[in-house]
């Protein structure tokens, strides 16, 4: 039968066609191997934190013979870990809030208000999608310094928001355009002006896109490295990506400590990801499709 010999048969099962056994076996084996490739680095990192350095040298793969809770414990009880997490959270929260507000307002204008040059302005923002922040990082540094924002949270937040505007404005605008126009007609008949409209009708209906843009902004900010690297000097303000680099610099070959630190810093990400997977995946890939 043709089914057994052809491994690639995507989305074929319409209705009651169950998968043939050889296909199933092949699938599970391949997928398990791939899972191993994904998981082993992560698992070894997490487990490595429970070992001593010596044990790590001899036994990087397996379970620790003696569980060294102190590696994790020291970090968890240290100030720096929580400080860095807090910094990341603060920066990300500010970024998300600012991004959402600004892009919603801007996109609203593009979607609803006819004004001279609106087409041009939209493309103006879309330019931001074309090149990464890295290209202009030096002048950006100069500008932030001249504004006195060097080594401040805003020095990181503002550029992040600015570079994220291209994508967020686009996403919001497309979303707004797809809202039924009758709503607006009804509101205008009822006497609502633009501002009222934006606040009472558009925003409440925008939950899905707010979630999408929020997630994209948050993840982008939470994981960002080069921008804080250049804009921040005080360790007390470092978000965790800078933190782990500093930590490694300090403990250079004490891998057991470094691994513990890494694990603790990516743990929130992993937990939140599995908790809100659908939203996160939808958010991060929606940005791509639009």
């Amino acid at each position: 039968m043709t089914e057994t010999t052809a491994p690639i048969d995507a989305a074929t099962a319409g209705g009651g066609r169950s998968e043939r056994l050889p296909t199933k076996v092949y699938l599970y084996i391949s997928l398990t191997i791939l899972t191993a490739i994904i998981i082993i680095p992560l698992l070894s990192t997490a487990l490595g934190g429970f070992k001593t350095l010596g044990e790590l040298r001899g036994n990087p793969f397996g379970l620790p013979a003696n569980w060294q809770w102190s590696n994790y414990g020291d970090i968890l009880f240290s100030q720096r870990y929580w400080l860095q997490m807090g910094n990341s959270l603060l920066i990300a929260a500010l970024t998300v809030f600012l991004t959402l507000s600004l892009s919603a307002m801007t996109a609203f204008t593009f979607a609803h208000v006819k004004f001279f040059g609106s087409g041009f302005l939209l493309n103006y923002f879309l330019i931001g999608l074309m090149f990464p922040a890295a290209t202009a990082i030096l002048p950006l540094f100069i500008r932030i310094r001249d504004l006195g924002l060097l080594d401040t949270y805003w020095g990181v937040v503002l550029p992040q928001v600015a570079f994220g505007l291209g994508m967020s404005v686009l996403l919001f605008r497309n979303f707004f355009r797809n809202l039924p126009s009758e709503l607006f007609d009804a509101a205008f008949v009822d006497g609502a002006g633009y501002l009222r409209f934006f606040w009472s009708i558009t925003l409440p209906l925008s939950r899905p896109i707010i979630a999408t843009v929020g997630i994209i902004s948050f993840v982008g900010s939470w994981n960002s490295y080069i921008l804080p690297l250049i804009m921040l000097n005080s360790e007390s303000k470092y978000p965790w990506p800078l933190g782990i680099m500093v930590y490694r610099g300090e403990f250079s070959t004490d891998w057991q400590l470094i691994l513990a630190f890494i694990t603790l810093t990516i743990l929130p990400t992993v937990i939140v990801f599995f908790a809100a997977q659908k939203h996160i995946i939808a958010g991060l890939t929606a940005g791509a499709v639009k």
């Binding site: 043709t2 319409g14 209705g15 009651g16 066609r17």
Partner: protein, 353 residues
């Protein structure tokens, strides 16, 4: 071309059995319609014949082969889908040629067969277009062309006209009928629209809840419905039903309406039954049944009049020559041979019609 037979077909999803023991025999060249409401199992049966669904029990025989374990291709069937299912990235020509290419036919033959089918369906000017550039009706014709080109043993139609607007539907119906006349391939046509089933097929099979209610020629089903369900399903506008009790040769409703009928089997007084009379069978003008006209819906040639017979809204068809007014009184007669009586419990017809 070959005949088709379903022997004791069953289908279950896990513990849920949707179809139990269906038998159906289709002659070579016959056009059979499977009708029924949504969820009655008609599409499932079609897909089992196609090989798109596993059979939980029974056999499917095409020609003289048992095809249970064969792939769709090996069964030599062709199918027209409700959503047309055309390959969006291929031209009309390629859509029709695809299956021939897959079976390794020589290019010259493919070209000849595709063009012949295109001619038959008036698709020649569209051969180089892609599906997105076609109208709904054109797409459906391409879907049929794709099926015709294969010269299969059986044609399967899965509600092909449901996505078209009413006018187009009527037009495509006659095209399908003409096609069948020309090509004469054994066809199974699934639809929920009984008018389609009646106009297109040699034989109609009515299904409900996975069970065949009745099969026969369209007129057979119309004139002699086997049970309440078929009687109510076939015919538009639908048959009028009245709950009644048997009194001698007649059945009397609780509201006092009395219908005389011919019994086909022994009945007893007091037996609960359902009376059925079609709107078009009521003779208007005079008669023992009378009531106030509540609605008048003129449709041009005929007028649908809704009559209040002792509290029961009843539809009566009158010719538009009559001027019936809302609020007036109308008397009607239910002809003896056209009065259907169905057993109250089983729904089986017990009148002789």
């Amino acid at each position: 071309m070959a005949g088709l037979e379903l022997r004791n077909i069953a289908k279950s999803y896990g513990a849920v059995s949707v179809i139990e023991g269906i038998d159906l025999s289709v002659e070579d060249g016959e056009f059979v319609a499977l009708v029924g409401p949504s969820g009655c199992g008609k599409s499932t049966i079609l897909r089992m014949v196609a090989g798109l669904e596993d059979i939980s029990g029974g056999d499917i025989i095409i020609g003289d082969r048992v095809v249970n374990d064969l792939t769709p291709r090996e069964r030599n069937i062709a199918m027209v889908f409700q959503s047309y299912a055309l390959y969006p990235h291929m031209t009309v020509y390629k859509n029709m040629a695809f299956n021939l290419e897959l079976s390794g036919k020589p290019k010259a033959e493919i070209d000849q067969r595709v063009r012949q089918a295109a001619r038959m369906l008036e698709l020649e000017p569209l051969l180089e277009r892609k599906p997105s550039q076609l109208s709904g009706g054109q797409r459906q014709r391409v879907a049929m062309g794709r099926a015709v080109v294969r010269d299969p043993a059986v044609f399967l139609f899965d509600e092909p006209l449901s996505n078209l607007d009413a006018k187009l539907r009527v037009q495509m119906r006659s095209e399908i009928k003409a096609l069948h006349k020309k090509v004469g391939v054994t066809s199974i046509y699934v639809t929920h629209d009984q008018v389609e089933a009646m106009t297109l097929s040699d034989r109609v099979v009515v299904l409900n809840h996975g069970v065949i209610q009745q099969e026969g020629s369209p007129m057979e089903l119309y004139r002699r419905p086997a049970n309440l369900f078929v009687a109510g399903f076939i015919g538009s506008p639908a048959m009028n039903f009245f709950e009644a009790t048997i009194e001698g040769n007649s059945a009397r409703t609780a509201s006092g309406l009395s219908f005389a009928f011919n019994a086909a089997e022994a009945v007893s007084d007091g037996q609960q039954v359902t009376i059925g009379v079609r709107p078009e069978h009521f003779q208007a003008g005079s008669g023992p049944l009378s009531g106030e006209v509540t609605f008048v819906e003129p449709t041009g040639g005929q007028t649908f009049v809704t009559l209040d017979l002792s509290g029961q809204p009843t539809m009566v068809l009158v010719s538009s020559e009559e001027d019936i007014e809302t609020g007036s009184r109308l008397s009607v007669t239910a002809p003896l041979e056209r009065t259907y009586v169905f057993d109250g419990q089983s729904g089986r017809r017990i009148s002789k019609n």
